[in-house]
Amino acid sequence: MTKNEIVVGRGGRDYWTDLKLDTLPDVSREHFRLRRDPETGKFFLKDLSRLGTTIDGVAAPSSIEVTGTEKRDRNVEAPVPDRARLGLAGVYFLEFRSAAHG
């Protein structure tokens, strides 16, 4: 990860994805955003998926709020430890490691 925020998901025509996963449709096209706080160097995950994200097996809070047909981003993030196992919809797993701290 070479910038302060990346988008992880299956991607699609109108989706920007920095890490594009070629996997089951259970994984959302824009599944989560991983942000590095430039001041502390700590990482935060914002779950934008339909079927959820886990951090070391614990479900991250969903940042999505659906009103009618509109999807809104509530801007809810969960801290990510320097080493963590990120689960996407329970079908795909990423090993996360912070280069600076982990």
């Binding site: 025509r13 109108d14 989706y15 509109e70 999807k71 981003d73 801007n75």
Partner: protein
């Protein structure tokens, strides 16, 4: 859902020369999305690029994930890569691209994403500000102050851009790609997005004038802006998107105070008493209060009462008393349709207004006609700066002769929507003056329409010079005129040696422009 109070409109036009419209625009007021796109590419390719840009940006912004800044960046990057992909798959579309300016409203601000030479302007409290920087060599020189606005508008290389959407692969955060900025969007402001078809033809000040005059009616404003671009030349497609904050119309149009306008029938004594009270009130305002910090407020408006007592009526010196009391930023408002008989001496920073804004008809302007024995000029600017005159009608005739309608001496003055009729010289500009004149008419002058002598600059756009004896315009002894969209009934123009009549003709209307007739009256360099 934030935006139910906004007024907005968008419009696009082919122009008068192009055969297809490669511009596009998009508004989603519900989500606060405002976009203009200018396609690049031969045949139908430019149109296709603009279409792809609108579709992809719309689709990305409908999904409200990530911060607004990220959404805007990603939307433009997605559009960029989609245009590139489509062009690679179809030889007809090879090399297509576009430039665009996108504003997304968010919590009292606008997040602006910008690539290329379309523009975003903010119009607020009588001023216009360009908030985007053109990604073009000419635009960069204009922003650096090396070229004036008019020079940039005329520059032969003004169409070159060094950034675009669609000619190479990009990601959202590329440093040499999208300019992104969060700017305040105040309730009393309007934002105007336009393609270069407008900004290459119509000056920012004239854009402001049209938007302010139609405050509250953005549909008419966009139509008039497009007409202005087409009248000036119409060489390019022109697209305008305008969004007004909920308080823009109220702050742009300040209604005249009716009570003071209809004073005529009240007995003179009562009238004088009123005036005395008014002046006392005005003077009281200016008593500096000790130990109190003055908080700057909006412009104050001083209404000059019109008297029906005829020339020399006792109330007339009130006008000069008000002018003396006015501070920079204030407005001296004359009553529309009424006559004043005393000369007006301009004061730095003060606006002199003779019509309610938004109206441009003869009978809605205040009339300045000096009493017979009064020495002219009707309006004098002597070493003043940042003065604006708007909506006055200055009249002279054999009974009330006038050496000059308006005389500028070493002054910087803006004149809008003003008519000067029958003076010896309509306007005379002396010394190192700077005159911005828009939408004015100078007619039936006895010796000449506008005479400038000395190292001053004249910025004349969309004025009419009609039936003037002598010359319509004379720029002598180093005076530099910039002329756009003006109408001259005769080519009686004395121009500086480096300004050729042909280049004037290209940007203005010379109604007698037949080859044989144009020579007459033109002083050869």
């Amino acid at each position: 859902m934030v935006n139910t109070m906004l007024k907005y409109a968008g419009a696009s036009d082919l122009g008068r020369v192009r055969r297809n419209n490669e511009d596009a625009w998009y508004i989603d007021a519900e989500r606060g999305i405002f976009l203009v796109v200018d396609g690049i590419g031969g045949e139908a390719a430019g149109e296709k690029a603009a279409e792809i840009a609108v579709d992809r940006i719309r689709a990305r912004l409908e999904r409200q994930t990530g911060t607004v800044e990220q959404r805007v960046r990603e939307a433009i990057a997605v559009a960029n890569n989609e245009i590139l992909r489509a062009a690679r798959g179809n030889p007809q579309w090879q090399g297509m691209a576009c430039v665009l300016t996108l504003a997304v409203l968010d919590d009292g601000a606008a997040v602006v994403g910008h690539v290329g030479d379309s523009r975003l302007y903010e119009i607020r409290r009588g001023a216009i500000r360009k908030l985007t920087h053109d990604h073009s060599p000419v635009g960069a020189r204009e922003d650096a102050g090396e070229l004036s606005e008019i020079e940039a508008m005329r520059h032969p290389r003004r169409n070159e851009v060094f950034r675009d959407v669609g000619s190479e692969e990009h990601s959202p955060d590329d440093t040499d790609f999208i300019d992104i900025e969060r700017v305040p969007f105040e309730p009393d402001a309007a934002l105007l997005l336009c393609t270069d078809g407008l900004s290459d033809q119509v000056t920012a000040d004239y854009i402001r004038l049209l938007v302010e005059q139609n405050a509250g009616d953005p549909t008419t404003a966009t139509r008039q802006l497009i007409n202005a671009a087409n009248t000036a030349a119409g060489k390019d497609n022109v697209t305008v998107v305008l969004v007004e904050g909920p308080k823009f119309a109220a702050s742009a149009v300040l209604p005249p105070r009716q009570r003071l306008r209809t004073i005529g029938i009240i007995p003179l004594l009562a009238g004088l008493l009123l005036v005395a009270l008014f002046v006392a009130f005005v003077l009281r305002i200016f008593q500096p209060a000790k130990g109190v910090v003055t908080v700057p407020t909006g412009p104050r408006i001083f209404y000059v009462p019109a008297f029906s007592g005829g020339p020399g009526a006792p109330g007339e010196s009130v006008a000069q008393a008000l002018i003396e009391a006015a501070q920079p930023g204030d407005i001296i408002q004359f009553a529309a349709g009424r006559e004043y008989h005393q000369p007006v001496r301009l004061k730095s920073g003060v606006t002199f207004r003779g019509s309610p804004t938004g109206e441009m008809a003869n009978d809605s302007r205040a009339i300045l006609r000096l009493a017979p024995a009064t020495a002219g000029p009707a309006v004098l600017a002597d070493k003043v700066r940042d003065v604006r005159i708007q909506g006055l009608r200055i009249l002279a005739d054999p009974q009330a002769p006038l050496p000059q309608g308006i005389l500028l001496v070493d002054s910087s003055v803006e004149i809008d929507d003003t008519e000067i009729e029958g003076a010896t010289l309509g306007i005379e500009v002396r010394g190192a003056s700077k005159l911005h004149m828009r939408a004015c008419t100078i007619r039936d002058s006895l010796a000449g329409g506008l005479l400038a002598s000395g190292p001053g600059s004249l910025w004349l756009s969309h004025n009419s010079f009609l039936h003037n004896h002598g010359f319509n315009l004379a720029a002598r002894d180093g005076a530099e005129p910039s002329l756009t969209g003006n109408v001259f009934d005769k080519s009686t123009l004395e121009l500086p040696p480096d300004l050729k009549l042909d280049s004037v003709r290209e940007h203005n209307f010379l109604l007698d422009a037949k080859p044989a007739a144009t020579r007459q009256g033109v002083r050869k360099p």
